[in-house]
């Protein structure tokens, strides 16, 4: 059970950071700001 939780946590961290990076860098490549709403 503990092992499963470790796996889940690691997967979540990898996936969330991957998708955040994809969002950020692909918007950046178009000269746009992904974090627009948070900047206000």
């Amino acid at each position: 059970m503990g092992q499963t939780i470790v796996y889940v946590v690691v997967s979540v961290v990898i996936c969330v950071s991957f998708f955040a990076a994809v969002d950020h860098f692909l918007m950046d490549a178009q000269g746009l700001d992904f974090w627009y709403l948070l900047r206000k």
Binding site: Q3, T4, Y7, V8, V10, S11, V12, I14, C15, V16, F18, F19, V22, D23, L26, M27, A29, Q30, L32, D33, F34, Y36, L37
Partner: protein
């Protein structure tokens, strides 16, 4: 052997001739281009002896060029400019054009299939499979030959229709594209030559070094075919988004500018992908038909397998297609906002709702087929109970995707709604939601595919538990990201929102690439619960394939109609006006009927083509040949 060496030599010479034929028109064209003032941009070519050199400004590139052609003709509704039968010329041209495009698309797609499948046949380690792949590729190219001559016939009919019914327009267009049209014609020589040698030399070039030459020929064949399509696309691109001419339509000497219009490359990409998807659909439908009419289990197994391969290749190219289409639309908007609004916000908006419906049908059919295909694998039962959740995801995505922005409603409903927009549905009707919807649909299709790939296998790698959890997380967060981006779009300015589609696409494509890759790594040396029982698939799945093919065909017709009618009353957008009596936009109902008629005619004629293909078959079936022991001892592939 002397004969082998001679065959080798002849094959290499043939390949060289093909490449030469491919390059020759381009080589010949270079001096022609040079003297036409081929130097781009502001290069001023000194025309010795010309006293008055008139300059013009390119409508798109905004560069200066020397006027080298007549202005666009100002046509009148007369027998001179628009000779006619007692029938709408436009409809005749539409029919000729559409059929030519269907067949052209098919004959461009099939060689790509053959190239991929033949290559798979060469690199597969399993000898029996390799033979099957090879035979499959051969069967495909056989079908393509009849279709190829039909394409040429239809092309001829198309040109005659243009010449006889739209002489003023065609004279203008061919005046500008003269060298392109010549190269186009010469490329057909190359294409035919390559195709015939590729087909007829198949058996002679079966093994070893010759096989690699044969494969190279398939590559050359595809390059030629693709160039042909690119050249034809330049004419359409010019009609929609002219460049290289000034405001009066006078050619300014730079052939590259008239070819490389704003919409040329989006059209190129979209059409390559569309060809493959369409070709895959047609072949899959053929396989489905043969499956349903099969008398023996072997036949059923063979056509089930063929249908699966065709569908897989077609769908592989279908998945990036919406993104190519989105790029095309973005370029249209960037070129002329008006054209963009006419397409999706104004007159032609309802056609896009129909398109959304068709896209949904495509993906739903694909998913349905894959779920049926899970049924022919032992061990795939574990996925069956989750299918209803996939149905739910697909349905939600689909419902959002087809919600129209302009809703058809009675005035009573309008009053009940309190306005033109519905507070809930109105949100589904805009692009931010629709991107989310379609990406959810595509991700779900990827998920179905992954399940199919691992259907009858149990992973035996040491880290399989982590792998499974990771895959589940990845898909979950992919969905979350897509939906989050869709919702986010409502809260930010339009110019930022438009960019959100790129991360959404990337999310979906990440699922596709990474999950497929991870899955294949995880399935290395996996324990098979049972073989794939080819042929033991429900009839419903074959109907799904036929549905897929019909939907593809209908969509091609629809989008072609949209592409054409967005020009409204222009032959060449803003350059040459359409002054024929048919310079109006058809009603949506008429267009739909016309598209359906085209689809029906195409399918009847392609059935004829398939029948012709079967007519010529006198050889014994592949299975009998493969069973002969002597064959298996033939020299191994590869040197």
């Amino acid at each position: 052997m002397g004969s082998v060496t001679r065959t080798k030599l002849m094959s290499i010479m043939a390949l060289g001739a093909m490449i030469g034929l491919l390059l020759l028109p381009i080589l010949v064209a270079i001096p022609a281009l040079a003297s036409d003032g081929g130097a781009p941009a502001a290069g001023v070519k000194k025309e010795g002896g010309d006293a008055k050199v008139e300059k013009g400004k390119d409508v798109y590139y905004k560069t200066e060029g020397i006027v080298s052609g007549p202005p666009a003709p100002k046509t009148t509704d007369s027998e001179k400019d628009y000779p006619r039968y007692n029938f709408e010329s436009r409809v005749l041209l539409w029919f000729a054009n559409q059929q030519h495009l269907y067949y052209g698309s098919f004959v461009l797609a099939v060689p790509i299939f053959c190239m991929v499948i033949e290559f798979m046949g060469v690199v597969t380690k399993d000898k029996a499979m390799a033979k099957r792949y090879d035979q499959l590729a051969y069967d495909f190219i056989k079908i393509s030959l009849t279709a190829y001559s039909l394409t040429a016939i239809l092309g001829g009919i198309l040109i005659f229709t243009f010449l006889t019914l739209y002489p003023a327009f065609f004279q203008y267009l061919s005046g500008i594209f003269r060298p392109v049209m010549h190269i186009y014609a010469l490329m057909f020589v190359a294409e035919s030559g390559t195709l015939y040698i590729y087909y007829y030399g198949w058996d002679k070039m079966k093994e070893g070094f010759l096989k690699w030459i044969h494969l190279s020929m398939s590559v050359v064949l595809n390059v030629i075919g693709t160039i042909l399509m690119f050249l034809a696309n330049s004419w359409i691109g010019f009609m929609m988004s002219p460049a290289g001419v000034d405001e009066q339509g006078r050619y300014l000497g730079n052939i590259w500018h008239v070819i490389h219009t704003a919409l040329w490359n989006p059209l190129n990409l979209h059409r390559i992908l569309g060809n493959m998807a369409f070709g895959g659909g047609v072949v899959a439908a053929y396989a489905a038909y043969r499956f349903l009419s099969a008398k023996t289990d072997e036949e059923r197994a063979h056509y089930d397998w063929m249908g699966y391969i065709a569908m897989a290749l077609g769908v592989a190219f279908l998945i990036p297609l919406p993104f190519a289409g989105y790029w095309l639309m973005r370029e249209v908007y960037a070129y002329r906002q008006q054209m963009g609004i006419t397409l999706m916000g104004g007159l032609l908006a309802w056609l896009f709702i129909i398109q959304a419906t068709m896209i949904g049908i495509l993906f739903l059919s694909t998913n349905y087929y894959l779920w049926q295909a899970l049924g022919r694998m032992r061990g795939a039962e574990k996925y069956q109970r989750y299918i209803k959740y996939l149905v739910f995801l697909l349905t939600c995505g689909y419902l959002v995707f087809i919600t129209p922005h302009t809703i058809v409603m009675t005035p009573a409903e309008l009053k009940a709604m309190g306005g033109q927009q519905h507070p809930v549905l109105g949100n589904y009707g805009v692009m931010s939601a629709k991107n989310g919807g379609i990406n959810v649909i595509i991700t779900t299709t990827v998920l179905s595919f992954v399940w199919y790939m691992r259907g009858n296998k149990v992973s035996t790698v040491s880290w399989s538990k982590f792998g499974n959890i990771f895959m589940g997380c990845f898909f979950f967060f992919a969905y979350l990201n897509i939906i989050m981006l869709a919702v986010y779009g409502y809260y930010i300015p339009a110019n930022v929102r438009v960019g959100l589609s790129v991360p959404q696409v990337a999310t979906t494509l990440s699922c596709l690439f990474f999950m497929f890759a991870l899955n294949s790594v995880m399935m290395k040396g996996a324990k098979q619960m049972g073989p794939i029982e080819w042929g033991k698939i429900s009839a419903r799945s074959q109907y799904a394939l036929i549905m897929l093919a019909t939907a593809f065909t209908w969509m091609m017709g629809l989008m072609g109609y949209i592409r054409s009618s967005v020009r409204l009353f222009w032959h060449v957008n803003e350059i040459m006006r359409d002054n024929s009596p048919w310079a109006y936009t058809h009603t949506v109902g008429f267009a739909a009927n016309m598209i359906s008629a085209n689809v029906l005619f195409f399918w009847i004629s392609i059935m004829f083509v398939f029948w012709l293909g079967a007519l010529g078959a006198k050889k014994a079936p592949v299975e009998a040949k493969a069973a002969v022991p002597g064959r298996a001892a033939a020299p191994a592939v590869g040197h």
